[in-house]
């Protein structure tokens, strides 16, 4: 070993380049793990495609849609549910990333991350960014396949939707991370995922417009309005047509910040829920 290794020097702080190296490393590892789990990629695509090809085909005859923003003409039901299905991919991806955090905690791998000398808030934020980054190619692959199914948003929409997907991916990842901190075992978290994913997806504007929900059940309408997933869907829906839904943007931004702060606090050794249980 070089003498540099054993020469005492008080090294303080990290450079921006070192932070960048760390972030890149965490994204790289998340990407590698994703590539090793090909079934996960296939499942991530099959799930929304089943909804699009089978469910939507059946429902298009039953569910009439009036002209609602951002659409300026009558649209196919398949077109309507596409943003919700894009978010479904991100929702599952966020939960899957968090599931792997619980797995890493059980297997001990999580310690590698948490004993890094870089600040813990940065490590957890990087982990979130990595999880979100993995969701993006999945969503775009889905959009590419959907294009052959006459889901053809304007070309600008493919670019305009990217920031919305980044924000929504962070929000859903942070929610998953927060949930993973309160789940002690892998099995518990896998169960808890069902209690989060399905209510979030169904009690939202992903499958039907909210005016339709209000006609059927006023209280459910309010639940949908309070559901951050509704706002994520609307943010993506508008972005896909090159528009901004400002109220949805505000809600999604607020929820992302809230969930991220909650997750970082939960993983803080002095304050977090994990510390109270006596585990890393």
């Amino acid at each position: 070993m070089s003498t540099e290794a054993i020469t005492y020097q008080a090294r303080t702080g990290f450079t921006a380049l070192q932070y960048g190296v760390c972030l890149k490393g965490i994204i790289w590892r998340e990407g590698l793990r994703f590539l090793h789990q090909r079934e996960r990629f296939v499942a991530a695509l099959v799930r929304p495609l089943v909804w699009l090809f089978i469910f939507a085909a059946g429902f298009r005859q039953v569910l009439g849609l009036s002209i609602i923003p951002p659409y300026d003409t009558y649209i196919l039901y398949e077109v309507y549910i596409t943003p919700g299905l894009m978010l479904l991919i991100q929702l599952f991806n966020g939960m899957q990333s968090s599931l792997s955090m619980v797995y890493d905690r059980e297997m001990g791998n999580m310690r590698t991350l948490l004993v890094s000398p870089l600040p813990r808030w940065f490590l957890l934020s990087s982990k979130l960014i990595a999880g979100m980054a993995v969701s993006l190619p999945q969503v775009y692959t889905f959009l590419a396949i959907a294009w052959f199914w006459e889901i053809e948003p304007p070309p600008i929409g493919y670019i305009a939707v990217l920031p919305a997907l980044i924000l929504c991916g962070l929000m859903l990842g942070a929610l998953g991370m927060l949930l993973s901190s309160v789940s002690k075992q892998l099995e518990n978290f896998a169960g808890a995922m069902n209690f989060v994913i399905f209510p979030m997806f169904f009690a939202s504007s992903a499958l039907y417009p909210l005016w339709r929900v209000r006609e059927g059940s006023p209280w459910l309408y309010y639940v949908c309005e309070l559901n951050p997933f509704t706002h994520a869907v609307e943010l993506v829906r508008f972005a896909l047509y090159g528009q901004v839904n400002w109220s949805s943007l505000a809600v999604v931004t607020g929820c992302t910040a809230l969930f991220m702060v909650g997750a970082i606090l939960a993983y803080d050794p002095s304050r977090g829920l994990l510390a109270r249980r006596g585990e890393p």
Binding site: T15, V21, R29, R111
Partner: protein, 252 residues
């Protein structure tokens, strides 16, 4: 004037409890520079808790821990970059290769790719694992996995190496190899804190901290502890001191 180097690791009055259970009680000791220090204790003595506190996995409830003068609670970044850690549970990603695990660790320390690759080759060569660099960790033996964890702990050039029961579950040859490698590192100037319950891993020259039921019963060279306990060897000294402690607890 030459600056005085701060102590490698200083544990000062550390107590820790999980709910009603007291895991550590006023633990105080230090690891002298360039020594092989053994933290000796039975399962449940508090060794892993102490490691978790030293690496800031848990927040310190009472007392203070300093690494080369850096308070782990207040200057955790400065402290943690001086430390290499091998935890008791295996912490490598078994689906990644040996090299990929090392590169990931290097990134977590902000070490760029080129430097990381050079260091990775260097530490793997030292531990005779260079030919396994591209193998997935799941295909390695228990001993090799531990060696990779040690290689990983050395990647950022730490000055203090913490190893929590690194030889548990390994065969005699693997244990001997790991011990030999780690003892050689002490000669190169790295301080080592080696937690174990295996008394045969202690030699007479080692600095020993005897931890029992969350308390430090004795600290010093193994030879000194044997002498103080009036025993014939470290095994007898360990039994004598722990029994005396338990008897005292029963009386109180």
């Amino acid at each position: 004037m030459k600056a005085v180097e701060p102590p490698t690791l200083a544990i000062e009055g550390v107590s820790h409890r999980y709910g009603m259970r007291q895991a550590l009680i006023d633990v105080t000791f230090s690891v002298p520079p360039s020594t092989f220090t053994v933290l000796l204790g039975l399962n449940g003595a508090g060794k892993s808790t102490l490691f978790s506190l030293t690496t800031r996995l848990y927040a310190i409830q009472h007392g203070r821990i300093r690494i080369f003068g850096h308070d782990i609670a207040r200057q955790s970044s400065e402290a943690l970059r001086m430390v290499g850690i091998v935890f008791q549970p295996r912490t490598l990603d078994i689906d990644l290769s040996v090299a990929q695990n090392l590169m990931y660790h290097a990134a977590l320390h902000g070490i760029d790719k080129q430097t990381a690759r050079a260091r990775s080759n260097d530490v793997l060569a030292r531990l005779h694992l260079l030919d396994r660099a591209d193998d997935k960790v799941r295909n390695l033996s228990g001993g090799q996995t531990r060696q990779v964890e040690i290689a990983r702990a050395l990647l950022h050039w730490p000055r203090l190496l913490l190893l929590d029961e690194p030889t548990v579950g390994l065969d005699i040859k693997s244990r001997a190899n790991i011990l030999e490698h780690v003892r050689r590192m002490v000669e190169e100037g790295i301080s080592v804190l080696w937690a174990t319950h295996l008394i045969d891993e202690v030699t007479v020259d080692d600095h020993v901290i005897l931890l029992h039921q969350g308390r430090v019963l004795a600290a010093g060279t193994a030879a000194r502890i044997v002498e103080l306990a009036g025993a014939r060897d470290i095994r007898s000294a360990f039994i004598r001191l722990t029994q005396a402690s338990e008897a005292a607890d029963e009386v109180s």
